[in-house]
C-alpha cells in the first residue's frame, strides 16, 4: 500500500482519489499538508482553538466520506476551505460573541513588511489592498464573505444577517467601486 514516501510525491488531487478509494494513509498525508494552514486561517475568524480544531476534524471526516464527490475542478485547497468555513459558519451561528470576520479597522501590531514586500504585495493584487481599505464596512464584509471566503450570496446573507438581494447589491457596488479605484494611477508605482 502507499508508503509515506510514495504518498509525499502525490499531488493533492491524486491523494483525494486515493481517499475516495478508502486509503486512510492518503487522508493522513492530506491532513499533514492542509490542516496547519486551515487552522491558521480559521483562527483569524474565531479565537477558540477547541472550536477551530473541531471544525478541522469535521472537515477531514467529511473529506473521507465525500471524497468521491470532488470533481477535480479548482484546487483541493479551495475545496477544503469551502467545507471548513461553511462548517464553522453553521457552528457559530448561535454564538454571537465570536468574531467571524477579521477586524478591518484595527492597525496591525506586527512588524511592518519590508519595502520590497510591500511592493510585491501590491503586485499580487494591484492596489486592491488600498482600494479595499477605502470601502465602507458593509461593502468590505460582503467582499470578505463572498470574494475572499468563497460563500454564495445566500450564505453570506445568512452570515451577515441581511437579505440575499442586499448582499448582491452591495457586492455589485463594491466591485464597481474597486474597479473605479484601480483604474486610477497609483502613487509610488512605476
Amino acid at each position: 500500500m502507499g508508503s509515506s514516501s510514495a504518498l509525499a510525491d502525490q499531488d493533492d488531487t491524486a491523494l483525494v482519489t486515493l481517499v475516495a478509494d478508502g486509503d486512510a494513509a492518503a487522508l493522513e498525508e492530506l491532513y499533514g499538508r492542509h490542516a496547519p494552514w486551515l487552522v491558521a486561517r480559521l483562527m483569524r475568524r474565531c479565537n477558540d482553538s477547541d472550536v477551530v480544531l473541531d471544525v478541522v476534524q469535521d472537515t477531514f471526516v467529511t473529506v473521507w466520506k465525500d471524497a468521491r464527490r470532488y470533481r477535480g475542478t479548482g484546487e483541493v485547497a479551495g475545496w477544503l476551505w469551502g467545507i471548513a468555513f461553511r462548517r464553522m459558519v453553521s457552528r457559530l451561528r448561535s454564538r454571537k460573541d465570536v468574531v467571524l470576520l477579521p477586524e478591518w479597522d484595527t492597525v496591525g501590531r506586527g512588524h511592518v513588511p519590508a519595502a520590497e514586500d510591500e511592493v510585491l504585495l501590491g503586485v499580487e493584487y494591484g492596489d486592491l489592498a488600498g482600494a479595499l481599505a477605502r470601502l465602507s464596512p458593509e461593502f468590505r464584509s460582503v467582499v470578505q464573505a463572498c470574494v475572499l471566503d468563497g460563500l454564495t450570496t445566500k450564505e453570506a446573507g445568512k452570515l451577515l444577517g441581511v437579505r440575499q438581494n442586499t448582499v448582491k447589491t452591495r457586492l455589485h457596488r463594491a466591485k464597481a467601486q474597486l474597479r473605479g479605484s484601480l483604474a486610477l494611477p497609483q502613487e509610488g508605482w512605476r
Binding site: 500500500m1 502507499g2 478508502g22 486509503d23 486512510a24 494513509a25
Partner: protein, 287 residues
C-alpha cells in the same frame, strides 16, 4: 502444568471416529499439526478452541475444565485466540470494523483502549494501511491476515490457528513466522497446515495425526531424522519406491523402497519424513 492437556480425547461423528483416545499436551512454543484430510486436525483444534466438546476423555485448558461451570469456560475463552478454517465477513465491514467487533465480543469495553488494541494487532499482521478497506475488497491472503489479527487480540495464552498460511506468499509466511516465534515465548501456539514446509518454517514441535490417532509427537528435527538413509537421488526410480518425482536437475527424488543402483543418498526433508511415516495413506489421500 501445561497450557493444554488432552487425555484420551475421543470425538465421534456418526460412524466416523474423528479422534480416537488422543493424548497430547502443549505448552509455550509453536506446535504444528500435520496430517491428511480427515485426520482429525480441525476437530482437535475445535476442541482446544472450545468450539465443540469432546465425547470422552479429559480436556484441561490453562488448568481449567471447559466442560465445567460457565464461569470456568468463560475464563478460558478470555485468554484464547482462535482462527477458524473458514470465516465469513458480514456485509460491508472494513477490516478495522471486523476486528473491532470481535474485540467487543472479547470484552474490550473501553473505546480508547479497544481502538489502540485493534490498531496494534492490525499492524502486527501488516495491515495497518489497509485497516479502512472493505474486507470484500481485500485479497484472499489479506482476508486471512484480518482473521489472524482478531485471534491475536489481547495477547492470548493459547492460540489456535487452523490453516493460517492459506493464501500467503513466501514473504508473508516469513512475516508470520516472525510474529509467531515472538508469541511462542509466552503463548501455546497450535497450528494446522497442509504444507510441510510451513511446519518446517514455523514450528519447533510437530504432531502428525492420521485417522484420528497420533503417529508422531516430537521436534521437527527428530521427525526428519526418521527418514535418514531412506531418501536418494537417481536417474530411474525403482519399482518399489513409495513416491518419487523428477527434480529440476533431471534426476529423480525417490522416497522409500530399495535404492536402485547408481543412487546417491540425499538429505531428507520434512516432507519426505512425513510421507514415509504415513506410508500409503499419505500418498493416496495427500494432505
Amino acid at each position: 502444568m501445561n497450557a493444554v492437556e488432552l487425555t484420551a480425547v475421543t470425538k465421534t461423528y456418526g460412524r466416523t471416529r474423528a479422534l480416537d483416545a488422543v493424548d497430547l499436551s502443549f505448552d509455550r512454543g509453536v506446535t504444528g499439526l500435520l496430517g491428511p484430510n480427515g485426520a482429525g486436525k480441525t476437530t482437535l483444534l475445535r476442541i482446544v478452541a472450545t468450539s465443540i466438546a469432546a465425547d470422552r476423555g479429559g480436556v484441561r485448558l490453562l488448568g481449567r475444565d471447559p466442560h465445567g461451570s460457565h464461569a470456568e469456560l468463560t475464563g478460558i475463552r478470555r485468554e484464547l485466540g482462535y482462527l477458524p478454517q473458514e470465516l465469513g465477513y458480514p456485509g460491508d465491514m472494513t477490516a478495522f470494523g471486523f476486528v473491532e467487533y470481535v474485540a467487543v465480543l472479547k470484552e474490550w469495553n473501553d473505546r480508547a483502549r479497544r481502538l489502540r488494541e485493534v490498531r496494534r494487532v492490525l499492524e502486527l499482521v501488516g495491515l495497518g494501511d489497509l485497516a479502512t478497506k472493505r474486507v470484500s475488497k481485500l485479497s484472499g491472503g489479506q482476508r486471512r491476515r484480518v482473521a489472524l489479527a482478531q485471534a491475536l487480540l489481547g495477547d492470548p495464552r493459547i492460540l489456535v490457528l487452523d490453516e493460517p498460511t492459506t493464501g500467503l506468499d513466501p514473504t508473508q509466511r516469513a512475516d508470520l513466522r516472525r510474529t509467531l516465534s515472538a508469541l511462542g515465548g509466552h503463548c501455546a501456539v497450535l497450528l494446522s497446515t497442509h504444507q510441510t514446509e510451513d511446519v518446517a518454517a514455523l514450528c519447533e514441535r510437530v504432531v502428525v495425526l492420521a485417522g484420528g490417532t497420533v503417529r508422531f509427537d516430537g521436534t521437527v528435527t527428530d521427525l526428519v531424522a526418521t527418514a535418514a538413509g531412506r531418501v536418494w537421488l537417481c536417474d530411474d526410480p525403482g519399482p518399489d519406491a513409495l513416491v518419487s518425482w523428477r527434480t529440476g536437475t533431471g534426476r529423480h527424488h525417490v522416497v522409500g523402497g530399495t535404492p536402485p543402483p547408481g543412487a546417491t543418498a540425499t538429505e531428507p526433508t520434512l516432507e519426505d519424513a512425513y510421507l514415509l511415516m504415513l506410508g500409503a495413506d499419505a500418498v493416496r489421500a495427500p494432505a
